[in-house]
Amino acid sequence: MQLQLFVIILFLFSPLVPQENAGQFFSSGHTNNWAVLVCTSRFWFNYRHVANTLSVYRSVKRLGIPDSHIVLMLADDMACNHRNPKPATVFSHKNMELNVYGDDVEVDYRGYEVTVENFLRVLTGRLPPSTPRSKRLLSDDRSNILIYLTGHGGNGFLKFQDSEEISNVELADAFEQMWQKRRYNELLFIIDTCQGASMYERFYSPNLMALASSQVGEDSLSHQPDLAIGVHLMDRYTFYLLEFLEDIHPSSKANMNDLFKVCPKSQCVSTPGHRTDLFLRDPGSALITDFFGSVRKVEITMETINLTEPIQQVEQNFVNEERQKETYSYVDQLPVSEIIHQKPKQKDWHPPDGFILGLWTLILLVFFKTYGMKHLKHIF
């Protein structure tokens, strides 16, 4: 990490770097990757939604995004559900080939914590100060964010936990808030629910790309049941998405146009849809790993760099300027001494109160003297 930063700084400061490489180097404009993976359904028969989310989680981790940069929200615990014949596992392939739960999964929002409010707070960053880092989306304006939602949805809404819904308007507004607070560089939104395309209809913020598993009026179907477990294990769109992602490795050059081709109608039965009009780059130039992986751009160079000069310059700067060393101390959370020995606040000087009262009485008396005493009885 430090070496890479070092190399980048060198490229910036050293006059030996050819300019074209720098242009290509920063073509995507992002420096870090985040992923927000949400499963919104609970109950045992919605096993496949949890399996979907966990499978995407596995792929995203494999391609390099660390747990600290993934916010995983699972609405129900399938692995420890009483009805699970293989406790502590969540399978995504039948015949139990792939256990996506594993032993290193980190679920950030679990069970009843997965609500619309929490989801929107995570996106917009409006969380109470006591929220731990693992539950926050600490993205900045150079972050590429992948948002994956799965569950039961309808035309214009996604159902959370059987009791509430998030509408497409709310979601679009949340993304606009993120844009205005510069919380993302580019955002890829994938949704695998029935009528999923309705959820991205209302987006209006720039740099958003969206994919959905089905159009309005279509249902997304599940893929394969497992007879031993007794439930469907995955949804079709996510299954084929994962098959596609299995071929992606961190240095893959596959781009978004390949992603749009995942799961055609013949395999998915529903028609997947996508939306790219808000995305400022050409989707063909956006790599899969721009969103799914956390790829650090490293260019190996055989050239030698003269390190001495820039360092000396910086050191000289330090020697020439005055050292301004400030001593830091903690702010008192409860300034007891100030409370005990409270001094009155310094205000602008006013004449004493009695003086003003006397002044007004004088004015009144003069007034009544001039215009007659009979008006005085109106006051007293």
Partner: protein, 612 residues
């Protein structure tokens, strides 16, 4: 002006009503009967489908292996049952404990109001044995029940064997989210009633039972198994429960779905469904199946051990194994797999079964008719009563023609009394019909050479027939009612019958419909003016008792076991005694309904017929 507030239109409407009353009534009656018969016609029915999302499809892998071992256990059970002369409690407790269940027993005893000649019992003492399989990881808040009856003789040994085999297999699985209670009840329905009352801490029938030591949480569903042979050719599903209550249709759908998946022949009412619905024989087959269900539901008795669960809002059904002359036999392993599949699906339930219908009729196992489709048949019959009531109201409201010169004062004041007296006397007769048979059985046995059961039944019939002589006696004894007072009485009686039948049809459609079929023509057309002898004969034919007699014969015909008249008569007497016993033992409401409400209503019409 509106239709009813404009006097001209109103008069026209009223005259239409009075002129066409009888034809409309006849048309309504025929329409009601035709609608009912049309319910079994397949295009008018709907295919059954699973409504509960949590149960999903039949997506489980059934792996129950130990059918033969289960049959061996059944044979052991039979041997111990013979040795113990009843329920082999110790052996059952030991066997269930060796399978890893928590075993408890419950003793119960009951003295029947009079001896039951069908099952030959009077003082009943018994023990229920049940084992609870605790869910390995779940809290003990919900339970499922699998029960098999311990029957005298050679019946249902295999059922207990399969139950114990399943218990052993289920104990080895980790995916149970609910406790499973394996119950072997003695004296079928009486033992089941004792167990349910003990489980739910109620005591509605005055039985004596020891409290249950172990409990499992609120019961979500129950299945009762009746299997008396090693191999079966088909499995029959019995749904009708106490007071005609039916379990949720999803339970039947679940059974049918698994039957189709595993490939077992499944029937309902013992009749295999046919594919040729457009032929006459196919249609009549469906009508027969539906009529069997209607008659079983109307009788108000539980037709399997499951029938008593329904009252506690527990969906339950009985699965009977039938061994007939068919080539393809299903062995115990397959039956075990079917039950395993059903229980795995019931395990997935999150709430009680409530998504599908509670009121339905099934002309076959794959088709059903819901309440919205069958209720209009009854509605058309009830309409006749309302039309008649309107007609009488109009006649009473318009002043009579004065050529007879009846004293006008007599019209108003004895109005209430002329109605009240027959009402009170009829209901008193009804009360007599309800209470006398059981109370006076000792006196009857002393004076006549009959057994207690016969005494009870014959007393009932005697009181019933005595009621027929009432109008004569009351009219002679009491005052002479005015000539037109019968209209008020008929109005009250018709409305009373309408309310009574309506309420009955809501709870038990079949009972309400059958009573309506016979009583509505009586109510509509009886007046003092019709020829007395002929109409008296017709009224007796259409009275509840004769309806029951005809139903008995029809029921035997539908089951393809027609009986001769003498056998039918004996069957009829036993049906009456069973009805009284059901009421005393399980709280069935058919007997009090007929004795206290329907019979007095019919007596009112009898009074009107003999009005002087």
């Amino acid at each position: 002006m509106g239709l009813l507030s404009d006097p001209n239109r109103r008069r026209a409407l009223i005259s239409l009503l009075t002129r066409l009353n009888a034809p409309i009534c006849v048309v309504c009656y025929m329409a009601g009967v035709a609608w009912f018969m049309g319910l079994a016609f397949e295009p008018f029915t709907l295919r059954t489908y699973m409504s509960e999302n949590a149960m999903g499809s039949t997506m489980v892998e059934e792996r129950f292996p130990a059918g033969e071992r289960a049959l061996g256990t059944g044979r052991e059970f039979s041997a111990h049952k013979k040795k113990a002369g009843g329920m082999p409690v110790d052996w059952l407790v030991k066997t269930m404990q060796s399978r890893g269940l928590e075993v408890f027993t419950q003793r119960f005893s009951r003295r029947l109001p009079f001896p039951d000649e069908d099952k030959e019992r009077y003082m009943v003492k018994g023990t229920n044995v049940y084992g609870i399989l605790r869910a390995p990881r779940a809290p003990r808040t919900e339970a499922l029940v699998l029960s098999a009856p311990c029957s005298p003789g050679d019946d249902n040994n295999q059922a207990v064997g399969v139950l114990l085999g399943l218990a052993q297999y289920f104990r080895n699985q980790v995916f149970w989210a609910k406790d499973i209670i394996f119950l072997v009840n003695e004296h079928d329905l009486i033992g089941m009633q004792a167990w349910l009352e003990g489980y739910h801490h109620t005591n509605t029938t005055g039985m004596d039972w020891s409290p249950l030591q172990g409990r499992g949480g609120s019961i979500q569903a129950a299945l009762s198994l009746e299997l008396s042979s090693d191999v079966v050719t088909s499995l029959d599903l019995v749904l009708e429960g106490l007071n005609g209550q039916l379990p949720n249709l999803d339970l039947a759908n679940l059974f049918y779905a698994f039957c189709q998946k595993i490939g077992v022949l499944c029937t309902t009412q013992g009749k295999l469904q046919r594919n040729d619905w457009d032929s006459v024989s196919g249609y009549s087959h469906a009508v027969q199946t539906m009529m069997l269900m209607v008659m079983k539901q109307a009788s108000g008795r539980p037709w399997g051990d499951h029938g008593l669960f329904l009252r506690y809002h527990i969906e339950a059904a009985t699965i009977k194994g039938i061994n007939s002359f068919r080539q393809y036999k299903t062995d115990a392993t397959t039956i075990g797999r079917l039950l395993e599949g059903m229980y795995r699906k019931l395990n997935n339930l999150l709430e009680r079964l409530h998504q599908s219908y509670f009121f339905y009729l099934m002309p076959s196992l794959s088709h059903f008719v819901s309440i919205g489709y069958y209720m209009p048949a009854f509605g058309l019959l009830a309409l006749i009563l309302l039309l008649r009531a309107l007609d009488l109201w109009i006649q009473l409201a318009t002043p009579p023609t004065f050529n007879l010169n009846p004293p006008p004062s007599q019209m108003s004041s004895p109005g209430v009394l002329s109605v009240l007296t027959p009402l009170v006397i009829s209901h008193l007769t009804g009360v007599a019909l309800y209470t006398l048979p059981i109370h006076f059985q000792e006196i009857a046995v002393e004076h006549f050479p009959v057994s207690e059961t016969e005494a009870v039944v014959l007393t009932a019939i005697a009181v019933y027939t005595a009621g027929l002589a009432l109008p004569h006696n009351t009219h002679r004894g009491l005052f002479v009612p005015p000539f037109n007072g019968w209209k008020v009485l008929k109005l009250v009686a018709v409305l009373y019958l309408a309310v009574l039948l309506g309420c009955t049809a809501l709870i038990n459609f079949s009972l309400g419909f059958i009573l309506a079929l016979t009583l509505v023509p009586v109510a509509a057309f009886v007046t003092p003016d019709v020829p007395k002898a002929l109409s008296a004969f017709i009224m007796v034919i259409l009275s509840p008792a004769c309806t029951l007699l005809f139903s008995v014969f029809l029921f035997q015909e539908l089951q393809e076991m027609p009986v001769s008249f003498l056998d039918g008569w004996m069957l009829y007497l036993s049906v009456i005694s069973q009805g009284i016993l059901d009421h005393a033992l399980y709280g069935s409401l058919v007997y009090p309904l007929v004795a206290l409400l329907v019979y007095p209503c019919w007596l009112l019409f009898w009074n009107i017929l003999f009005w002087k």
